[in-house]
Symmetry: C2
Subunit: 324 residues, 2 copies
């Protein structure tokens, strides 16, 4: 018994001492540790001053589950249902009609324009603060259909550890997401330890107005300012961060330009792609998937440029954090 | 001699000990120190967690001289002259013709549209990095017409001290300027100690492209994304910072909404306006000025809401830092 306790204890200590304890000792973990040692070693050619250490992380499919459908789309659909009583006209109007009829077949055929209509009505007309409250309330109640746990617990434990490890090494960690900036800000603090000013996302216009009591407020409009995906990622990074990241993490073709932009700076850089190849513990998808497409061209590019491809199956000991 | 040395020495120590040594012991300095003590005192009702301490500063007229004309406008005019040989058509085309003829009378009558044309040609068509190099080169050479020193030395020493004092008290200090975001980023690090990600400004679109060698680059386009002035200030703060500042500093009607937005949050807040009433050491202007307008309505609003008005004449011991 004492021996078992001692082993358990030493394992606990080991886990505590290893900031990347959910990573197997394979190439990706070695690449991370090697990169951090190089940029933090004073006097080395690759040394980067603490204030210049910027790391950017995609969200959907890189930090949390994006299958079978993006979480924010599920949120928008749920919101249409939740607010339908205020919109009797939706009963006869597509795409709302199909959503309210729970017509999965029709919803799978929705066009980009259909989704834009759904996002427009569910993501505008309220203040930024009110919107974030709606998101928080939804996240507190909604559960992932397969994993039966809140979406904010369907996050990847190894990536959370990676973020923390980088922060311990003086990196500023940013989320750079195709998802809505205000949507992700609603949970990034609590879930990732990332404050609102370090969330770059797709942005809608806001309007400064006064409420009935004359108090100022910022109201969300249904106009798009930036789609923070593909070329929009380096553009969004420039708007909000204003400098090139030292490290970037993604999982799909939507992240290619962010990694490319990061990699084209001088000195030591780290670019990594999460590859979903673990249907047992999570999902397996790639070139053929509409959500989180990992094209063959992206795989070729990764090999050519030395971007590290993370196999969820082989490189991660665990996928999710322990249940709360 | 020993006595004099002792006095000089004690004065040196006093200046060192007082982080706001360029401020007279009048109401504004007391308001600053009182505010900082309240928000940093753990257990107090006004305590603000270090990570939530955000302070925003306007630039033109708040951090540096904006008379007789905004520095960025002088830059744009100088750039038209500097690049005229590449644009023979400008010789016959307004507003360029007047600029190239150094026709001050005509330039004083320029419309907003004229200035937009000048800004468009001088602020787009190059990469973000190239633009910042152009700005840096100009700032290294140009001098203020009256003070005969570089524009980056025509900054207000008391405001620099205020920024540093807030940072020492764990505030993140942001520039929130109607000026161009990339223009201000080019010098904010060295001049204010404010990194690129803490500069919110008027934004133009950028486009992610590849140069001849296939290297990615961000090219500035002549399209406006945000005019970071008046209601644009809280809107820009929301885009880049995503939360309400705890303190805000401005000097003109362009800052009114930023101060209003800041003040409408709960707890201790500090809102201050620099009033230019010192024609001897700097400039005296207010309601009648086209640049940095301090309207009577703004003064009324400041009194009503308890915003602190800083008299440059009475509240500042010195205006500029010592010459380099």
């Amino acid at each position: 018994m004492i021996l078992i306790a001692a082993i358990a204890c030493s394992r606990g200590v080991e886990a505590q001492l290893d900031p990347l304890s959910s990573w197997n000792d394979t190439a990706p973990k070695k690449a991370i540790v090697d990169f951090v040692q190089r940029v933090t070693k004073e006097g080395s050619a690759d040394f980067v001053k603490p204030e210049d250490r910027i790391a950017t992380f995609d969200n959907d499919g890189t930090m949390w589950v994006e299958q079978p459908i993006y979480t924010q789309v599920t949120f928008a659909i749920d919101e249409v249902v939740a607010t339908a009583s205020q919109h009797p006209e939706w009963r006869e109007k597509e795409p709302f009609k199909s959503i309210l009829a729970h017509d999965r077949e029709a919803m799978l055929k929705f066009s980009i324009q259909d989704f834009e209509k759904v996002v427009a009505v569910t993501h505008s007309g309220m203040t930024v603060q009110q919107f974030q409250e709606i998101v928080k309330k939804w996240l507190a109640e909604a559960k992932h259909p397969r994993f039966k746990r809140p979406y904010t617990e369907c996050v990847y434990q190894p990536m959370i550890e990676l973020m923390q490890y980088l922060r311990e090494n003086k990196f500023k960690t940013y989320i750079v997401t195709g998802g809505g900036q205000e949507f992700v800000r609603a949970f990034a603090g609590q879930t990732y330890g990332v404050p609102p000013e370090q969330v770059v996302g797709s942005m809608g216009k806001v309007k400064y107005e006064y409420d009935k009591e004359g108090q100022p407020e910022l109201v969300k409009l249904p106009e798009v300012l930036l789609i923070d995906d593909k070329t929009g990622k380096p553009e969004g990074i420039n708007m909000v961060i204003g400098r090139r990241p030292q490290a970037a993490f993604g999982n799909s073709t939507g992240d290619q330009q962010m990694l490319e932009y990061t990699g084209s700076g001088g000195g030591a850089r780290l670019m990594m792609l999460v590859h979903h190849d673990d249907s047992k513990r999570e999902y397996a998808y790639g070139a053929e998937s509409k959500i989180g497409t990992f094209s063959d061209a992206l795989m070729t590019e990764a090999k050519k440029k030395g971007w590290v491809v993370i196999s969820m199956k082989d490189d991660w000991k665990t996928i999710f954090p322990p249940e709360k």
